[in-house]
Amino acid sequence: MSIVSEPTIRHRPDENVSSFSPVTSIPSPARSPGRLVVDAQNISLTFETADGRVDALSNVSLQIAEREFVSFIGPSGCGKTTMLRVIADLQQPSSGTLLVNGMSAENARLARSYGYVFQAPALFPWRTIEKNLKLPLEIMGFSESDQQQRVERYLSLVNLTGFERKFPWQLSGGMQQRVSIARALSFDPAMLLMDEPFGALDEIVRDHLNEQLLQLWKSTEKTVLFVTHSIPEAVFLSTKIVVMSPRPGRIIDIISCNFLRDRTLEIRETPEFIRIAQRVRSGLRSGHSYDE
C-alpha cells in the first residue's frame, strides 16, 4: 500500500494532459533513453477486398526505444494487430520505411529479434510442455543441453516448474498462455510482441498475469509491444500507450506513462492512473467520432 503515492512523484508533470491532438514527436521516458528497436516512418497498408479498398494502416509513424513497454490500444479494426504483424514481418506494408532492431523487418525476423505471443496459446497439442518450449529451440538449432537448460530457466520464470511432462490440455488457459510466453522468451529475443495475450482469460487470472508480466519485463529487460483493448491493462503495464483509431487505421495519441517499473495493482486507485486512463478514453472517443 505504501507504493500507492510513489508513481505521482516519479511522473513528470509537464505533459499536455488534456490535449489528445495527434502527437507525432513523443517525449521519451526520462529513465531509459536507449537505442531505437522500432523506427517506423509513414507506414501504410491497404488491402484490396471484395468490398473495395481497406486502409488498415495510414501514415503510421512510431519510435520505440529499448526496454520500453508499449501498449497499442484501440477499437477493433484500428490496425493495432496489423501494426504488430508488420513489425513481425508477418505482413508487408504498402508504403513507408520500417527499421526493426536497426534492420529491415524481414532481416529482424530472420535474426530472431522477437518472440511473438498470440491471443491463443497455440501450443502444439501433441507435444508436452517441455517439448513445446523446445520447439523454437529445435528449429533454431540450439544444442540439446542448452535446450534443456532453457526449458528449466523459462518454465521457472513463468512459475510452471514441474509441468514439463504434461500435455497442453492438462493445463488451464492461463497456464497455457504462460507457457506460450515462456516459449516466446526461450530463445532470448530482444523484443516481445504480444497480441492481446490475455484477451481470452477472466479478469482475476488476467490481473495476476499482468503482475507476472511486469515482473518478467523487469527481470528480462525486454522491449515489449503489447496489443490490448483494455484501458486499465494498458495504463497498468505500459511506459507508453499508443492510441489508435479505425478507418483508416492511424495513431491519434501517444501517452507516456511513467510509473515505477516496480508497480503493483494498487496504482490503479491513484489519481495519476485515473488521469492517464481518462486521456486514453477520450482519445479513443475522439477516434470514434470520425465514423459518425
Binding site: 508477418l90 530472431r112 518472440g115 497455440a122 502444439f124 501433441w126 523454437p136 528449429i139 500435455f167
Partner: protein, 306 residues
C-alpha cells in the same frame, strides 16, 4: 443415488452388470438377425426341398420339411449353422497348406492385401504431400485422382492382370497393384486435409521462428495430419481387402478368398460361398482391429486425451 423425495416413489432399479449393459444390445441384434436368417432360409429353400420329396414320392410332414430346408446340400440360402459348420471344417479341418483349407486361401488374399495396402498408403501419402506443396498439382492432379475412382474396378482388373501378365508379372503383385489402386484414394484425401489442418496461428508461429519448409512439414504439418491419416487407413485397409478379392475373380485364380467364391458359384456350392464370405469379414474385422490398435498407440504417444 437419486435424491430422497423421488427414490421412495420409484420401484427399485435393477442394476445390471456393466458387461451386460455393454454387450446386451449387440447380442439382442445378433439373435434377431439369426432368427430372421432361419426364417428366410426356410422360406427360400422350401420349394427345392418340397420338390425333392415329391420327386422321390416320399411322404413328408411339416417338421421334416423344415428340417430339410435347414440341412439341404445346395440350398439357395444356407442356414447359419451350416455356414458355421462348413467354415469351421474349412478352417480347422485341413492342414494350412492344403488348397482345401480356408486358412490357406485367407493367407493368399491377406498377403496381397498387405502389400496392396502398403503400396496404396505410401502412394496416397506421397500424392497428398505433393498436392499440398505444389499448387499447380492441386489443380492438375486432383481431377484425375477422382476420375480414377469412378472407373469400375471389376472392368479394369482383368485388363491390369492381363497387361501385367504379359510383361511377366504374375501371382501376388498384380493383385496387390489392383488393391493399391483402390485403397490409395481415401489416404490421399485424408492426408491432404490433415496436412492443411494446422491453424493460421501455428503457421504464423513457425514463420516468426523463420522455420524452413522441411521443419514446417515435420514439426507441424505431419503431426497435424496423423489423426486424419488413421481415419483414412481404417477405410483404406478394408478397401484393399476388397481390391485383393476382386483381383482374384477375373482370372479364375487358383487360390485366395476370391477364387474360393468363384469356385463356389461355379459348382453351386452356396455353403462354401458363405463360408468364404465369413472368412473375408473375419479378415476385415481383424485388419481394422490392427489399424485401430496402432492408432490408439500413436494417440497415446501424441498425448491425445483419452
Amino acid at each position: 443415488m437419486t435424491s430422497g423425495a423421488f427414490s421412495g416413489a420409484r420401484p427399485a432399479e435393477i442394476r445390471w452388470h456393466p458387461t451386460v449393459v455393454r454387450y446386451a444390445p449387440v447380442v439382442v441384434i445378433v439373435l434377431a438377425l439369426v432368427a430372421i436368417w432361419y426364417v428366410a432360409a426356410f422360406l427360400m429353400n422350401r420349394n427345392i426341398v418340397r420338390d425333392a420329396f415329391e420327386r422321390d414320392e416320399i411322404h413328408y410332414t411339416t417338421g421334416e420339411l423344415i428340417a430339410g430346408t435347414l440341412s439341404a446340400e445346395r440350398p439357395l440360402l444356407p442356414a447359419p449353422h451350416q455356414v458355421v459348420q462348413t467354415f469351421a471344417e474349412d478352417v480347422f479341418g485341413w492342414p494350412v497348406t492344403s488348397p482345401r483349407s480356408l486358412v490357406y486361401h485367407g493367407w493368399v488374399t491377406l498377403s496381397a492385401t498387405f502389400v496392396g495396402f502398403l503400396l496404396g498408403a505410401v502412394f496416397g501419402i506421397i500424392l497428398a504431400v505433393l498436392i499440398v506443396h505444389v499448387r499447380t498439382l492441386q489443380k492438375s492432379l486432383l481431377p484425375w485422382i477422382i476420375c480414377s475412382q469412378m472407373v469400375p474396378i471389376l472392368a479394369v482388373a482383368p485388363i491390369v492382370i492381363v497387361v501385367l501378365g504379359a510383361i511377366g508379372l504374375r501371382g501376388l503383385l498384380p493383385k496387390a497393384i489392383i488393391s493399391a489402386y483402390l485403397c490409395f484414394f481415401p489416404v490421399t484425401i485424408g492426408v491432404v486435409k490433415g496436412l492443411s489442418s494446422p491453424d493460421p496461428i501455428q503457421r504464423d508461429l513457425m514463420r516468426t521462428w523463420s522455420a524452413t519448409p522441411a521443419q514446417i512439414f515435420w514439426k507441424l504439418r505431419w503431426p497435424s495430419a496423423v489423426p486424419f491419416l488413421f481415419t483414412s487407413l481404417k477405410v483404406s485397409i478394408t478397401i484393399s481387402l476388397i481390391g485383393a478379392i476382386v483381383a482374384e475373380l477375373p482370372t479364375g485364380a487358383q487360390a485366395g478368398i476370391g477364387a474360393r467364391l468363384l469356385a463356389g458359384s461355379y459348382y453351386g456350392q452356396t455353403i462354401q460361398i458363405w463360408a468364404a464370405l465369413v472368412a473375408a469379414s473375419c479378415l476385415a474385422v481383424g485388419l481394422i482391429g490392427i489399424v485401430s490398435l496402432a492408432e490408439r498407440w500413436v494417440a497415446q504417444l501424441m498425448g491425445v486425451r483419452s
